[in-house]
Point group: C2
Chain length 392, copies 2
């Protein structure tokens, strides 16, 4: 195990009707003027926004609203939000939604007090030293952004999708997590979220750090449960207990717990970001394509952890089979799981049957990430090209 620091300061307020506590939480964390961010119309239609407005009014909190935030959130929307928040003298960001809304709120939180372009903090030009506080009412369990210091923004001008991690500034103060709010999520969005949270664990699980038995073991337990609950939700989308497990697992997958004491990987996420930046497909859909291809490639060079994954997570019986067969069966079962969720594992199919521009993706990857990627198997750009091909 390597040295590490673990810190999970976000107050997770989990369970039925918890959104009614939003005003009280905002007051406790010192909010005076709030910007409430949200995505499309579903939060309005379901009455969620009305309930949160009511809760804020009851707590005497003044607020403005900023809606229409889309998946793969863009820098344009961040600039718009920064202007609006500055004009209204907002002192607290409240994200009502999933990763896209939370990540936009975090980007605006960095931008409002900054004297420079917020994008500098994403493209690596400079580091922020302050940010507005952020609170969350989570409606899509997937990105884990409610408990992380991460934010992913796409710059459409430069075609860059960049993830940053500023844990001291961007960890939400609180996250309201009511599993009931996720019951009406369409099957595809539920599936994307499940693929994403599982991948957040893979990126930490697939590590060469020795002696990580404890963290491997509880990570495997979380992965197995998420897969079980995913199948329950596939047939019973309004099963509260399955929604609750998936929601809490999404947080644990990304609040650092599954990565303690390890060198993490994150190559699959980087490889996927190029797909969704160029073709605007959902991140989870992109991951379902990339992860099996990444695993097939890595099996050739570093099979150990893939063997363990096949047995302990995908329940492959090792008796009478060699390592290659065990790993292949594990990956095959993972692909079957994605198919059962209604997802494709073919890159060509994902982008509508066209031929993807692999060279453009590799070029952009190199520009964003440099010549190598990942750590479980360090990948050259030729390796990345090969993984995109394996994903076709």
């Amino acid at each position: 195990m390597e040295n590490f620091t673990f810190w999970s300061p976000t107050e997770f307020v989990f369970g039925r009707d918890t959104e009614s506590k939003t005003g009280e939480l905002l007051t406790r964390f010192g909010a005076k003027k709030v910007m409430m961010l949200f995505g499309g119309h579903s939060a309005e239609r379901s009455g969620l926004l009305a309930r949160i407005r009511e809760s804020m009014r009851a707590a005497g909190i003044d607020f403005i609203e900023f809606g229409g935030i889309r998946p793969n959130p863009t820098a344009d929307k961040v600039y718009e939000g920064i202007d609006m928040a500055r004009a209204a003298k907002v002192d607290f960001m409240l994200a009502v939604g999933g990763g896209s809304v939370i990540d936009t709120a975090k980007a605006i939180a960095l931008g409002v007090p900054a004297s420079e372009d917020f994008w500098n903090f994403y493209c690596g030009k400079s580091k922020p030293d302050t940010a507005l506080p952020v609170g969350v009412v989570l409606t899509i369990p997937a990105a884990g952004s409610e408990g992380s210091g991460n934010s992913v923004i796409t710059n459409e001008k430069t075609l860059q999708k960049i993830s940053v991690r500023y844990p001291m500034l961007l960890r939400p103060k609180f996250a309201v997590m009511n599993p009931e709010l996720t019951m009406t999520l369409p099957a595809d969005q539920t599936a994307y979220g499940i693929v994403d949270m599982l991948c957040h664990i893979y990126e930490r699980y697939f590590s060469n750090t020795p002696a990580t038995e404890l963290v491997d073991s509880y990570s495997e337990a979380i992965m197995r449960d998420v897969m079980d609950q995913a199948m329950t939700l596939h047939f019973q989308p309004d099963n509260y207990d399955a929604r609750a497990d998936v929601m809490w697992a999404g947080t644990l997958a990304h609040n650092g717990l599954c990565g303690v004491g390890k060198t993490e990987d994150w190559a699959s996420h980087r490889l996927e970001h190029e797909i969704s930046a160029i073709y605007d497909v959902p991140h989870g859909a992109g991951l379902a394509v990339i992860v099996p291809a990444w695993m097939k490639f890595c099996a050739r060079r570093n099979p150990d952890k893939l063997w363990k994954f096949a047995i302990n997570v995908m329940s492959v019986d090792p008796a009478g089979h060699d390592t290659d067969e065990i790993i292949a069966e594990g990956i095959h079962r993972l692909e079957d799981f994605y198919h059962d969720l209604g997802l494709t594992t073919s890159l060509r199919e994902l982008i509508g049957g066209k031929e993807p521009d692999i060279e453009a993706m590799v070029k952009s990857l190199e520009r964003n990430m440099g010549p190598t990627l990942g750590s479980y198997v360090p990948l050259s750009m030729d390796d990345c090209r090969e993984i995109y091909r394996l994903a076709l």
Copy 2:
């Protein structure tokens, strides 16, 4: 799953040589005048205290020292510490040790700013509204006090051993956790710690709350790993990786993670507190006696979770056996595990071969806890008497 709030604000700084960061951490958390608490001579002899003093001096932090804190820490020592801390105008408590030292630091932290007797906050007479901040350098993984808002103090005058939980006030700001510091722990202390942390998980695992698959599953993973690592340490006490797993598991066992969404039990802890309060035996040694007896008793009234425990944690093969047999074998294996660690599971043997005063324990239990105890199986005082008898 029930509604819950999870919050783990303590900064855990984990790994080799991390005690050298103590001064820097104290500075970051605003300490000006520190009281460093510790137990016996081992921290001095090992050079640990010298390294921490050096780290505080390098950070320009003024400090006083308060040593000699013993297992099952007493109210007397707390009063002494409060006087000393007030006289020196201490603004930060630094506990160097295990649960006893940390719990004493927390009690002093409550007492210093209070205008009333600190014991009022333990015996239930009143609630505290402020406390000095507490930091920890952990040397004994067991109590989980480094990540919890709990403190257990024994009042020798009243023969009461009382546990309180004030998470908003008593969660340590930081906990330095270097597994190397635990390598020289004697085998019995290592064993007591392992029994204690496992029991912190049992108290949460044995719950009647339905639909807790996710938390059960990662709790089982942690329990299995701790038992594996315990056997490694029995033969290789200086195995860093096993020490690291046990240390991190001790924190996860008690920072709330394993109890989310559940009604917890805590009857075993209450039953044990009477033993260690009256006979001054180590808490972990008392738990090794109480837990199997509690399980045998509960098996009669509520077998379900004990059956799951036997199979998923104690690896009992259910094939061809009925529920009673499976549970009995699970408890038998747990007793064997305690015996392998060199511990007795007999109350009589624990207190030196005498006949324990069960009536005195039951009487004190009723005074401290009222007429019933626990939730997995709610226990009357007659039930508690029976459990003490089963433990003989």
